[in-house]
């Protein structure tokens, strides 16, 4: 508690704009309701009551215009990559990307003979957190989200960090 805190009556909190914005952002990372393959099943399990994504403020939104993060959960084909790029561009800033599972990290089992698979979604859009696994368990995805929250917590609205 600093001297400033004692200048006011009850129910006042003194903080910096950065801290306030970051706290608000990291506590309500709304995700785009979007799944691609078997990783999407794990993502849905993470959203369901047992793992409860909602306790971190993650709510699936049906429109990219209301979403803050997009979880690339599954195999990205070239045909789909174009659509993902378009969805990503429709999201308002600040926006974040979690790449979930081996396929979207690096092509996964399709790395050599998958003529149709993009060898990593980072060739199309910038990724913030990579979650390894095939598919990752819900705990791993939660860990990925915590990593992303850590990243958001250290951001600044005046200095560009990413």
């Amino acid at each position: 508690m600093g001297i400033l805190d004692k200048q006011f009556d009850d129910n006042f909190i003194v903080t910096s704009v950065d801290d306030l914005f970051n706290w608000a952002r990291l506590s309500s990372l709304w995700q785009l309701g979007f799944g691609l393959a078997c990783c999407a099943i794990e993502m849905m399990a993470t959203s369901a009551s047992h793992y409860d994504f909602d306790r971190f403020g993650v709510i699936p939104r049906p429109s990219p215009r209301q979403a803050d993060i997009i979880i690339i959960s599954g195999t990205v084909t070239f045909k789909m990559a174009i659509r993902i790029k378009r969805l990503y561009e429709q999201m308002p800033d600040p926006k974040y990307i979690i790449s979930m599972g081996s396929c979207s990290n690096c092509g996964g089992p399709y790395w050599e003979h998958g003529y149709h698979v993009v060898k990593g979604i980072d060739r199309v859009i910038p990724v913030d957190v990579y979650v390894p696994g095939c598919p990752p368990r819900p705990e791993a995805l939660l860990e990925g989200l915590l990593k992303l929250q850590e990243k958001v917590r250290n951001e600044s609205i005046v200095k560009k960090t990413a």
């Binding site: 070239f78 990559a81 174009i82 003529y115 993009v118 060898k119 199309v124």
Partner: protein
């Protein structure tokens, strides 16, 4: 219920040169046919009262890769040989099955469409066209079904080479 020999004899009697041979295998014996007569033969197989093949279970394309492998611009390319289409037929009424095979030359693989006889062939033929480049004559809507419309080449051919880039995205690992 008819055996593969009986079906073959019925077809041979009716179409003579259009039906080539019966290849016997442990499980599925198959009959090789003329690719430009397959629609007529299929209609016969479906309507003949002793055959009644009302169900096309699957239609698949195959690259036989039986041509010569040559180097063109440093890329392995197959010249000559054939591409094949297999038809797995079943009669749900008479409970017998048969496999048909047609082979078309690799440079100009033209096969008559059977999608007007069995509607399930429609998307299967589009898939064979997409991945092997087999042209199905008289198909109502022959365009790619899996790959993007602007994709070049047919990926399941044995001599297919990946492009370096697709729409600016690097393709190889």
């Amino acid at each position: 219920m008819k055996s593969a020999e009986e079906i073959f004899n019925l077809l041979k009697e009716k179409y003579n040169d259009g039906v080539k041979e019966l290849v016997k295998q442990p499980i599925d014996a198959y009959i090789t046919c003329d690719p430009l007569l397959i629609n007529v033969i299929s209609l016969f197989l479906m309507t003949h009262e002793d055959l009644l093949f009302d169900n096309l279970m699957i239609l698949s394309g195959v690259d036989d890769a039986n041509g010569k492998t040559v180097l063109v611009d440093g890329l392995k390319t197959i010249e000559g040989g054939t591409l094949s289409v297999y038809y797995h037929l079943e009669s749900t009424k008479l409970r017998h099955k048969i496999v048909l095979r047609v082979s078309a030359p690799r440079e100009n693989p033209e096969v008559e469409s059977v999608s007007l006889i069995w509607h399930s062939a429609d998307w299967h033929e589009r898939e064979a066209f997409d991945l092997f480049g087999i042209k199905f004559l008289n198909h109502p809507d022959l365009r790619r079904i899996l790959m993007p419309d602007d994709w070049e080449g047919h990926p399941l051919r044995k001599d297919y080479a990946n492009p370096e880039f697709y729409l600016g995205i690097k393709v190889p690992y």
